[in-house]
């Protein structure tokens, strides 16, 4: 049952047409696509709008369609031609939606407006049945209602505490191609194969085998890949970093205050190094990579949380999650691998795609797709 039907039944009243007195807002363009990317609760915020835009933008340019983003100031930017986040009231927003050529957005107020004004529209739904909350007015032929993927008969969460968010299961090309269909354009040939839960998080991993001029907000120095304290010392002159290491690191580097977290992974964790890390108040993740010693090491260092090394398990599990051949796929990620002055999209690429385990270990950081005819 749709929300408005529930309201009608609850009050004994009949459904007519809703009303809002829209207020003019100057937009400086006649033909435009209106984007609304965010809902009040952030739960329905979709994290792959930039991927959607990458597919849409060239075609919009061909059609001379501008893009306008409406919503709150805090909404993530979609890099639209005209950015009206936080600049319109609800009635002005209504005017902008009423006059758009195409509306693309999440389950929220502007989607109801687009429906009511009978605009061509694509809207996405996740934590509830779309049938209950979709646009109620307007010609369904103008509406592409996309409900998130729910495999194996899964039902919506009806929750405001989703983690991970189910809306992120919608593939970017599904949204883009729905828009193309409404505009009478051929669909794009991109096929998303996997969207890692963390592929939108900005991170830099540095392999410290060579000097690098990297400056970034979130840096992990992979001392486990190349234990080079000279390069580490150089990097921390300019950055705060996290470190992953298999061997103790000299105290002077810990003393610098630039190392904000250490992941210490070893078969034989050295108690002295663990205590030194604690003395400097550096948060740490301690991993014992020898399963047979794990229990005794946990008892010996009971006051420290010693984790089990899970790489082999992760590889096994991720092989089940991703069944395509990584060699035939394209990869993108917000986590970049830096070595010297070269930048790679994954450790897998850094290692010339020689070790597929690298791909599976990093899978949750990757956005994997194919382009063109298969």
């Amino acid at each position: 049952m749709h929300l408005i039907e529930r309201y009608a039944l609850s009050t004994g009243l009949k459904i007519d047409n809703p009303s809002i007195s829209e207020q003019f807002f100057p937009t400086s363009c006649k033909n435009y696509v209106c984007f609304h990317a965010s809902s009040k609760d952030n739960l329905r915020d979709y994290d792959y709008w930039s991927e959607v835009k990458q597919i849409l933008d060239p075609k919009f340019k061909d059609l001379n369609l501008k893009t306008i983003q409406i919503g709150l100031e805090k909404d993530p930017s979609l890099n639209c031609d005209i950015d009206l986040r936080g600049q319109t009231n609800m009635r002005q927003m209504s005017w902008i939606v009423k006059n758009c050529d195409l509306f693309i957005g999440v389950d929220s107020f502007p989607a109801h407006l687009a429906g009511f004004f009978n605009r061509k529209m694509v809207s996405i739904y996740s934590n509830s049945f779309a049938a209950c909350v979709r646009p109620y007015w307007g010609d369904p032929a103008n509406q592409k209602v996309i409900e998130t993927e729910r495999p194996d008969g899964e039902k919506p969460s009806f929750s405001f505490n989703e983690n991970p968010k189910t809306v992120n299961r919608i593939k970017p090309e599904k949204i883009a191609n729905s828009a193309f269909e409404l505009l009478g354009i051929e669909p794009a040939k991109i096929k998303t194969l996997f969207m890692g839960l963390m592929c939108k998080q900005n991170f830099v991993e540095v392999i410290p085998s060579q000097m690098t001029s990297v400056v970034a907000e979130n840096i992990i120095v992979r001392m486990d890949k190349s234990h080079n304290e000279e390069v580490l010392n150089n990097i921390i002159q300019r950055n705060n970093v996290e470190v992953i290491t298999e061997k103790p690191i000299q105290e002077s580097l810990l003393k610098s205050g630039r190392i904000k977290k250490i992941t210490y992974r070893s078969k034989n964790l050295e108690g002295g190094f663990i205590k030194t890390i604690k003395n400097y108040g550096i948060p740490s993740l301690l991993i014992c990579s020898d399963k047979d010693k794990l229990s005794s090491i946990r008892a010996e260092y009971f006051d420290f949380l010693i984790q089990e090394c899970s790489e082999a398990h992760v590889v096994k599990q991720n092989k089940k999650r991703f069944k395509e051949n990584p060699e035939q796929c394209l990869i993108t990620s917000c986590k970049k691998i830096v070595c010297g002055d070269k930048i790679y999209n994954s450790l897998y690429e850094f290692n010339d795609k020689k070790n597929k385990d690298d791909f599976y270990i990093d899978l949750d950081w990757l956005f994997v797709y194919t382009e063109g005819d298969e």
Binding site: A8, L9, S10, S19, K40, N89, Y136
Partner: protein, 579 residues
């Protein structure tokens, strides 16, 4: 490893890494039993979330629910939230998963509500090991005793009283104290010099800042001692959370009120960044660490951040005498720690204090007066300040031989009665001696009328209120019902209430007489429409949001339900209607 040969014991207590009395006991018991070849321990840890990896040497589970549905269900219900903290909602799943031979519940007795109705209760052995601190004994303990295979209490006075009342299946088993880090130190002079207290008579008290710790009595006793012994350079060291003024004592205020020299009352500061600690008179919280220079990290201990046991032992070694006045207590671990560090302990002679305050226990009893705790009617003790002053003088004037004698007795007492080895041995005997079981919200109604009247026109009978508190989308779509309201109630004024931020959507709406800012009282229908002598404010108050924003009663797989009558007006384009 054959599981079947080992006794599988599920220990359900504070998580073993929590720095609480129960947490420390759990840690000691679990570490010892983990090494025992006859026992396989599993931990159900209160105070940590279910389904997170606790990285313990043994199989372990946090007990606080992580399922959003349960969290939603308990949110706002203090009783449910309280039992959730004790694992009420997750323990069944844990028992089902780990299939223990014995359930060992180690908590306050109110942590086990209706456990006898749990599906597994009669299928396995169950032992409750609980703290009881006052007389009369709590009804819950008397009720649970016959329902478990064994009830263990932390203090002997509770065992005696329960047995007197005819409950025979009770035994005293103190909480296990790992005193390996607590001992007299040879460099105690050096440590005292570090804190500039080497020439002082230092009286110590280590405690969590709670009202049951008799801080005002101790301050009074200390003041009297100072007044009566003007030549003694006495200092009172209170190792506690001084900032905990809301649920504990506002110590600086009492020091001022009692006219005690603030320089004579010492506190311990610990850096939350580098763990450096220091003893000095109290100077407030959030200081900059003198060692690592971190800003605002130097504070007195908190429930989550204290000093390590090695450092705590140094602190005990700074003291000349340990004084623990309280209203009642389950065991009071610091008393045993102080004894193990070789200190003479002055303890209130009530409750668990009777296990620590006598000469053969290396203690000296403190006199007290009885009072009844309001509401619970429990007997509580108010320790006599005069006696505190007297006993402090007694220790001060003791010769070295007498001191040595008492100190030796104290160390021996802890070793023989509280040590991990002794307690675990007793516990193991109890667990192995058990006979295997045979098969077999009230939402407070705010009746205060809101000051609505001033916004309303005409009479009650002429008014209709439509409430839609949430969401711009819902406010917008519900405007589609307004023509129908006008048609059905042409003579009435329509008031529309929503949250302030959605009011602009309604601006200029021809069907609305006035908009109102939503208030939760509007959901109280008798208040809005009238009850008894109260005439109400509206003839009709529509609350359509109750079925969508308060409860979900419209989902039905999205569109599986049918509406068997026409709910659309003549102006609605019916070809668009989904139903």
């Amino acid at each position: 490893m054959s599981h079947s040969k080992k006794l599988r014991v599920l220990v359900h207590s504070n998580h073993s890494r929590l720095v609480t009395g129960f947490g420390k006991n759990a840690r000691n018991i679990l570490l010892a039993l983990h090494k025992d070849p006859d026992v396989e321990v599993i931990e159900a840890g209160n105070g940590v979330k279910h389904k997170i990896n606790l990285a313990t040497p043994w199989e372990s589970y946090g007990t606080h629910p992580s399922d959003p549905n349960i969290l939603e269900q308990i949110q706002g219900d203090s009783q449910k939230e309280r039992v959730a903290q004790y694992g009420f909602y997750t323990i069944d799943e844990i028992v089902e998963k780990c299939k223990p031979d014995v359930y060992l519940g180690v908590e306050d007795i109110w942590a086990f509500p209706e456990y006898e109705k749990k599906p597994w209760w009669n299928k396995i052995n169950k032992v409750l090991w609980t703290t009881l601190d006052s007389l009369p004994i709590l009804d819950q303990a008397l009720q649970m005793e016959p329902l478990c295979d064994k009830m263990l209490v932390w203090a002997s006075f509770a065992e005696e009283e329960m047995k007197r009342l005819g409950h025979k299946n009770v035994e005293t088993l103190h909480g296990a104290v790992d005193y390996s880090n607590f001992k007299p130190l040879e460099n105690r002079k050096e440590i005292r010099q570090r804190f500039n207290i080497d020439d002082s008579y230092v009286i110590g008290f280590v405690f969590k800042n709670q009202l049951r710790k008799s801080v005002p009595n101790l301050l009074q006793g200390f003041k009297k001692f100072k007044e009566q012994n003007k030549n003694v350079k006495a200092k009172l060291l209170l190792h506690t959370d001084w900032s905990e003024v809301h649920s504990g004592w506002d110590i600086p205020r009492y020091i001022k009120e009692m006219n005690v020299d603030p320089n004579d009352v010492l506190s311990t500061y610990v850096c939350h960044s580098c763990d450096f600690y220091y003893v000095s008179h109290y100077q407030g919280e959030d200081k900059n660490c003198p060692k690592c220079k971190a800003e605002k990290t130097f504070k007195t201990k908190t429930s989550t951040k204290g000093i390590g046991e090695v450092e705590l032992n140094e602190l005990y070694n700074c003291m000349d005498v340990y004084c623990h006045p309280f209203t009642s207590g389950g065991q009071e671990l610091p008393i045993q720690e102080a004894k193990a560090a070789g200190l003479i302990t002055l303890v209130t002679e009530y409750s668990c204090g009777t296990d620590s305050c006598y000469n053969h226990q290396g203690g000296i009893p403190l006199e007290w007066n009885e009072y009844r705790e309001p509401q619970t009617q429990f007997i509580k003790s108010s320790t006599c300040p005069d006696d505190i002053a007297r006993k402090l003088k007694q220790v001060y004037e003791m010769d070295d031989v007498d001191k040595w004698d008492l100190s030796t007795k104290a160390i021996k007492h802890v070793k023989e009665n509280f040590s991990v080895d002794v307690i675990v041995k007793k516990l193991k005997n109890i667990l192995f001696s058990l006979k295997k079981p045979t098969k077999e919200e009230t939402k407070q109604e705010n009746t205060q009328p809101p000051s609505l009247e001033e916004f309303l026109d005409r009479e009650v009978k002429d008014r209709i209120l439509l409430v839609m508190p949430e969401s711009a989308g819902d406010v917008f779509i519900v405007t589609s019902l307004l023509p129908s309201i006008k048609e059905a109630y042409p003579d009435k004024d329509l008031y529309f209430a929503t949250k302030k931020e959605y009011l602009p959507i309604l601006q200029g709406n021809e069907y609305i007489h006035k908009t109102l800012e939503y208030s939760p009282q509007m959901e109280n229908l008798p208040l809005m429409e009238g009850r008894l002598g109260h005439k109400g404010y509206f003839e009709i108050c529509f609350l359509p949001h109750v079925g969508t924003q308060r409860h979900l009663d419209y989902l039905h797989q999205g569109d599986a339900d049918k509406i068997m009558f026409d709910i659309h007006s003549k102006d609605y384009n019916k070809k668009y209607a989904p139903n």
